[in-house]
């Protein structure tokens, strides 16, 4: 009986790989398992290979694993293309209907699913349903729940009957079914919802009271736009696909200035275009949330693969000193919660907030608890007092440097704002005093964020002297690696969700007693490491190391475990 299980499915486009992965995912979620399903596919829409992994756990925390426990192989040629990411061992059980190429040391189950479908259903296409029925049996999943999901998935479609027949066929077939020990232990948990990080961002934004969205299609962020716009238009919100990302951010500035909480979503190339508008939003203290679902860069890069390379742009992008807030979720719950945090911070501090997600988080499907059932606080921009009527100063210097904002349309509070350096009234100014004062205002208003300890998550043993810092989607792989090595009592891990302003108090606390420090991130230049080095008042320990590499493939357990052991126990490696 298994607590954790990884199933891989590979085939050509048209084999039904994605659908099969989806059915499996829905079933385990309904049964209360935690699960994840990253996407791996070529850029072409048709004809290219299709590959899916489903990682299932009977425990709340998913455990990452490099090797597959089960492989469903529709096409060996396609498998060979992805064999570096779909690792098999002699313990992997492979279900296929073609003879394996030479040299594959795995446990083969030759199951003629294509032939069965053709002969008994009159159509080869439901072969993936035949496999689904078969898989449900092998994994010991509740077959009534699985069948119901097939019904729901194809409800109203003319091939529903054939698909159900295919599922039943697979279920009843016992093709030399030995006890492979692949049955999952029962999860004992409530049914879970299934969604990807991009969808979690949408739900978080709506929960926070977001009323406008503007964007432009870009892989891997388009899902945010496609989900957000219809939902806004169905209520009293407004959303548009605009002509380019440049326009998206500026249109968002207009909507936000007019009073709406506004979201834009893009990836690296679009973010580069938005940088111009970002400067204006900082200068004019206009609230805004910008979700960047990072992909491998620079320029066009690899649109379908993850990387954590936009941090420097997020922190510094725009000419001049234009400080803003940068948040980065590391898991699906964070995608939801930090979107709400982003809106709160942007409203409270009247500043653009960048939410750094990435392709791995954004497009991986997760089976998780329904976090929307919790209560979340929603912040709104500070309104002026009635007494300011007729003498309103938009950029009035206050104790905490946050000025009340008048809602356009309100009588007696007309004001101007400009991209030029401006005085408290918003009028253009070009003298040093005003310029310096406004710079002070925009930086000092953000300082309280440096104290936010709740936005730095700690894993492992907080008292350990060996520490690892990581952020974003790298964290799940990193924490899994430490757990898989059994080192959770010897190592502490800090995962900041607030990346800028650097969460000073929490990081100083983490690093002060640390003798050995390792940074792990997926970008070539080690961007977060350098930002921490630059902004932390405390010098880093002499034994500070950085594991930095570009995107293009996810962090594997082998890679991270080796890195951790080398770092924490170099004497073992000798």
């Amino acid at each position: 009986m298994k607590k954790h299980l990884v199933v891989g499915i590979v085939g050509t486009g048209g084999d039904g790989v994605m659908l099969l992965g989806g059915l499996l995912m829905e079933t385990v979620a309904r049964l209360g398992y935690t699960a994840s399903r990253p996407q791996t596919y070529e850029s072409q829409i048709r004809g290219g290979g299709s590959a899916v992994k489903v990682n299932i756990s009977a425990e709340p925390l998913l455990r990452e694993k490099d090797e597959l426990d089960v492989l469903i192989c529709f096409n060996w040629r396609e498998f060979l293309k992805v064999q570096n990411e779909f690792l098999v061992t002699e313990n992997t059980v492979v279900i296929c209907d073609e003879i394996a190429p030479e040299g594959q040391k795995v446990k083969i189950i030759l199951f003629p699913f294509t032939q069965l479908a053709k002969e008994l259903l009159g159509d080869a296409r439901p072969k993936n349903l035949v496999i689904f029925g078969y898989l449900v049996k092998i994994l010991g999943l509740d077959r009534e729940v699985a069948r119901k999901i097939v019904e729901e998935t194809f409800a109203g479609k003319k091939y529903l009957d054939n698909n159900l027949k295919g599922f039943d066929l697979g279920r009843l077939r016992s093709e030399s079914l030995l006890n492979y020990g692949l049955q999952l232990i029962s999860s004992k948990a409530e049914p879970k919802i299934v969604l990807h990080g991009n969808e979690a961002v949408v739900r978080g934004a709506l929960k926070a009271g977001c009323k406008s969205f503007f964007g432009y299609p870009i892989t891997p962020a388009s899902e945010i736009m496609e989900s957000m716009i219809p939902r806004l238009l169905k209520t009293d919100g407004v959303g548009f696909q605009v002509e380019d990302e440049l326009s998206a951010l500026l249109t968002a500035i207009g909507a936000s200035q007019a009073g709406n909480k506004t979201l834009v979503a893009t990836s690296g190339p679009g973010f580069s275009l938005m940088v111009e508008g970002l400067g204006l939003a900082v200068q004019d203290e206009i609230p805004l949330v910008l979700a960047d679902v990072q992909r491998a860069g620079p320029a066009t890069g690899i649109p379908t693969k993850t990387e954590q390379g936009d941090l420097a742009l997020a922190v510094y992008g725009a000419h001049g000193d234009a400080p803003r807030v940068v948040l980065a979720p590391y898991d699906i719950e964070g995608c939801y919660r930090l979107t709400i945090e982003a809106f709160n911070a942007s409203e409270k501090y009247q500043v653009p907030v960048i939410l750094l997600s990435d392709q791995l988080l954004g497009q991986t499907l997760f089976a998780c608890d329904d976090f929307s059932k919790k209560e979340y606080y929603a912040e709104n921009r500070l309104p002026p007092q009635e007494s300011e009527k007729g003498k309103y100063r938009r950029y009035k210097i206050t104790k905490d440097f946050i000025s009340p904002v008048a809602l356009p349309g309100t009588e007696g509070f007309t004001y101007q704002t400009t991209g030029l350096t401006h005085n408290e009234k918003g009028e253009p100014a070009s003298d040093f005093q005003t310029h310096q004062l406004m710079h002070d205002k925009r930086w000092k208003k953000l300082l309280p964020l440096r104290e936010r300890q709740d936005l730095v998550k700690i894993f492992g043993n907080p008292k350990a002297k060996t520490g690892i810092v990581t952020w974003g989607s790298s964290a799940q792989a990193l924490v899994s690696a430490v757990l898989n090595l059994g080192l959770e009592n010897k190592i502490k891990i800090a995962v900041p969700e607030l990346l800028f302003p650097v969460p000073h108090t929490a990081l100083v606390k983490f690093i002060k007693e640390t003798k050995k420090l390792l940074f792990v991130e997926m970008n070539h230049s080690g961007q977060f490491y350098r930002i921490v080095r630059a902004w932390l008042d405390l010098p880093l320990p002499k034994k500070t190391f950085i594991y930095q590499r570009s995107g293009g493939k996810p962090f594997s357990q082998a890679e991270l475990q080796r890195c951790i052991v080398e770092f924490a126990f170099p004497e073992v490696m000798k």
Partner: protein, 283 residues
Amino acid sequence: MEVFEPQQYRSSLTPIWCPGCGLYASNGAVTKALANLKIPKEKAVLISGIGCAGRISGYSDVYAMNVLHGRAIPVATGYKLARPDLTVLAAGGDGDLLSIGAGHLPHAVRRNLDMTVLLCDNRIYALTKGQTSPTSFNRETLTSEVLNNPVDPLLDVLAFMNTIKTGFLAQGLANKSEHLAGLIQEGISYNGFAFISIQFNCVTYNDQQQFNALSKNAFILEEGKEVELPDGRKWVHDPSDYDLAMQLMMVSLAERPFIGVIYRGPKKESHLEATKKIIKEKR
């Protein structure tokens, strides 16, 4: 009883414009139009770009925004979408709206939101001291030493805007400010996207004679009045006639500037209205 006077819409700042600049009159025309329409200042929004014309928002006591170069239209779009209850105006110069900002024009026309765009065209980049703009005429006569792309043909913005079926298209002269105020009033009242080109002169960097000739040569279009084209053809002006408008636009500005309402199309659904309808039907 509430009184609406043009002066109410002016802010306390002294404009940086040169004495004799046509932007004073243009600004005056805007405030006159708002006063005539009795729009409370807190319900008016003016968004401008960068350039001499871009300064106009700073001199207006409404909810005003001076945004980035070429970007008044996207910001105005977002503003109007969030607050359809407000009167939204966007303003910019010929560099701002027709060079860096040109990419936003066709999409604004397609969206057909109820807002008014004012193009303040002095056929030069004035604030940066005299470079060529997409509408600059005889480059040899520019006083600036700086020559940029002297061989590019002129961007005929009105012909372009008419071709893509801008709902309300008009042109005015800054030195005919009463008439201009009337045009701006009509543009604001038009329920859809309105584009008004205001021809004026840069007294510091551009050719006064050139503008005088333009002004003298201008033909005022009036509904019901006969129009004569340079090639001799004549007909009666009707702003609802799209084909006539196309014919008028075949004549270049230098040859014969047409002043007045060039085209006023029937009310069409805005993109927002149409999308909301589809969403509601899908429910």
